[in-house]
Symmetry: C2
Subunit: 187 residues, 2 copies
């Protein structure tokens, strides 16, 4: 390792807002003492839940949701998840998103990673949970502009398909990595 690579942030200001994120302009001092200006999205923290359904004879499904994504302008098959509301803990948000999007409640809900969605241009954290011992307890409860369908899919199919349509969301690949790191290959 050569000399220091750490910068010293000097100033930060919000220069643009949408209802989902703000844009922050960050002025930071480089290891060689020069200053630079960088841009980052300031957003709430997120949760992703990997819901595991144990079948007969060791067969295992993940409970997946299919929805439209406005950035990619495409359908995406994902693990349930969403934004942590003000005052919620990550675990409370994970349980709520699982309930709202799939109607299920988890007997066991374990946080397995807390990772930056993109530390280059975002300042928030994504908390990844594994949910087990699932019971259908509620009807789904979707936002007015949320159109999604939940369905079990074989864990092997999700593992093999991740990274190709409709499994296009990199944060879901990161969540599946966290599952594999904790539980081993699902196949």
């Amino acid at each position: 390792m050569k000399e220091s690579i750490s910068w010293e942030p000097q100033r930060k200001k919000s220069i643009f807002s949408t209802r989902v994120f703000d844009i922050h302009e960050i002025t930071s001092k480089a290891p060689n003492e020069t200053e630079g200006t960088y841009y980052a999205l300031h957003a709430s923290d997120w949760v992703i839940v990997v819901p595991v359904l144990e079948g007969e004879g060791g067969a295992r499904d993940f409970l997946m949701v299919r929805q439209w994504r406005h950035g990619a302008e495409a359908e995406s098959v994902e693990f349930p998840g969403g934004v942590i509301d003000r005052g919620e803990t990550p675990a409370e948000a994970a349980a709520r998103e699982l309930r709202e999007e799939t109607g299920h409640t988890a007997g066991k809900l374990e946080r397995v990673a807390a990772i930056s969605p993109n530390p280059a241009i975002m300042d928030n954290t994504c908390h990844i949970f594994i949910a087990e011992n699932l019971v259908r307890t509620h009807d789904t409860d979707l936002d007015e502009d949320e159109f999604l369908t939940a369905q079990p899919m074989s864990a092997a199919a999700v593992f093999q398909g991740m990274g190709r349509p409709p499994f296009i969301h990199a944060l879901m690949a990161a969540a599946l990595f966290a599952y594999v790191q904790k539980k081993g290959l699902p196949v």
Copy 2:
């Protein structure tokens, strides 16, 4: 599966620009014919390269880079990668970033995934490569405001550490997932 979940994008306009990304405002028609407005980052495509060093007796290292990330305001240990320049193919960008950040050239460079960094709020694609048969051919060649160090780390340590500091970048977990999907567990 219930009724359609597909939206129909109607209009899109750029409402804010930085040198790294633009913000697009997207108006889209829901499956129930109502219209909504959404915000997405419009950015260039990216590449991530998983560089594999085969050691004696089957030991395997990944060639990692450590750098400061202005969004998270923290050091991050990552696979090499960056933005695809205008006119470059993803493979050309992967070879260039590997050369600039680590000084290495790959005898074998294979694309294993093309994934959306975040299809909810981004419109770009991240291409993931595995680089093998590495030879040190160049000095590193960093941008003026790029301060990073490259070093081999055991594949097992990267696998086990991913998702905890300094391995904080979710896209690197997604890239490591793509490696595991293709090559199996590195441990």
